[in-house]
Symmetry: C2
Subunit: 175 residues, 2 copies
């Protein structure tokens, strides 16, 4: 706390690591900023998985932009299709989406006539969820695009690596 005022004089005792040609960003290529030390970050599962997830979602969103479907919407449509008549509560638990958030998601999908909320006969509190015919047709096309996206992933990481990733990541999903 003694080395304040003077600007940019590296003097912190803890700052003992190498500093690349960063401060002189006007040195060589002018397009410097490359060689930043990520330090311990790359040893953190959380950091790597976050970067990977962002990359994957961006590709997914781009690929399915034509049908205007985002990842969460895709998961909702898929699970309703595979479990016609399930309740919002079941869907919420299955996908780990909060009840409150699911309301919005379903509002949007119902407004587009992809999904229907019918009154459940066995429990008048809950709604039974179904795909409409339009929703079913749409989902077919959507799944094709999703496969295209998954294809691109496989190309990026390699087929065997993708298989391994699926297996390893499933460990989390189980809990």
């Amino acid at each position: 706390m003694t080395n304040h005022d003077r600007p940019e004089t590296q003097s912190h005792p803890r700052a003992t690591r190498r500093r690349q040609a960063l401060t002189h960003s006007n040195s060589t290529t002018s397009k410097a900023a490359q060689m930043v030390d990520l330090d311990g970050l790359t040893a953190h599962l959380g950091y790597l998985i976050r970067r990977a997830q962002i990359w994957i979602f961006q590709d997914f969103i781009r690929t399915l932009a034509t049908v205007n479907i985002r990842p969460a919407q895709y998961s909702v449509l898929t699970v309703i299709d595979a479990n016609p008549g399930l309740t919002q509560m079941s869907l919420s638990k299955a996908l780990g989406i909060e009840r409150a958030r699911l309301v919005h998601l379903l509002d949007g999908l119902e407004a587009r006539r992809f999904v229907e909320r019918r009154p459940s006969r066995s429990d008048r509190r809950s709604h039974a969820l179904y795909l409409t015919a339009k929703g079913g047709t749409a989902l077919a096309g959507i799944k094709e695009l999703a496969q295209e996206h998954e294809q691109r992933l496989a190309e990026r990481v390699g087929r065997k690596n993708r298989q391994q990733l699926l297996r390893l990541l499933a460990i989390f999903a189980s809990g």
Copy 2:
């Protein structure tokens, strides 16, 4: 589009998959809702990685709640510590955080006296970022908690699996 009004009569041609004891959520354990078919989702890298990422971040946030540090803040502190004097632009590119968002992050960390923005001597547009002495001390404790978190991850997935995950996920980070 003929089967509208009547509630909950599964009659969609596409809805041909099994429906478990979901509609009768009052049947056995009353805590039903378990057996929902996730269908193709588990074959999507994006779905699994999203679930895993949420799990990991929640554990990270919980573990570092005592020091009030979130994942993004941790990454910023770590990289500044390893690259004293780097600019916001460099940091932004290195972490994939948008310039605008980094401003807020740094505002918060600077208000807590963990980080300093000093005028760069080589470029009067940019700021040189440093940890303060307080920030350095804090980061030491923070990293301990982060290791504790990483430890818990290793326990959950197994040490070998964790190593494999690190290797596989790094593929994305490289692009």
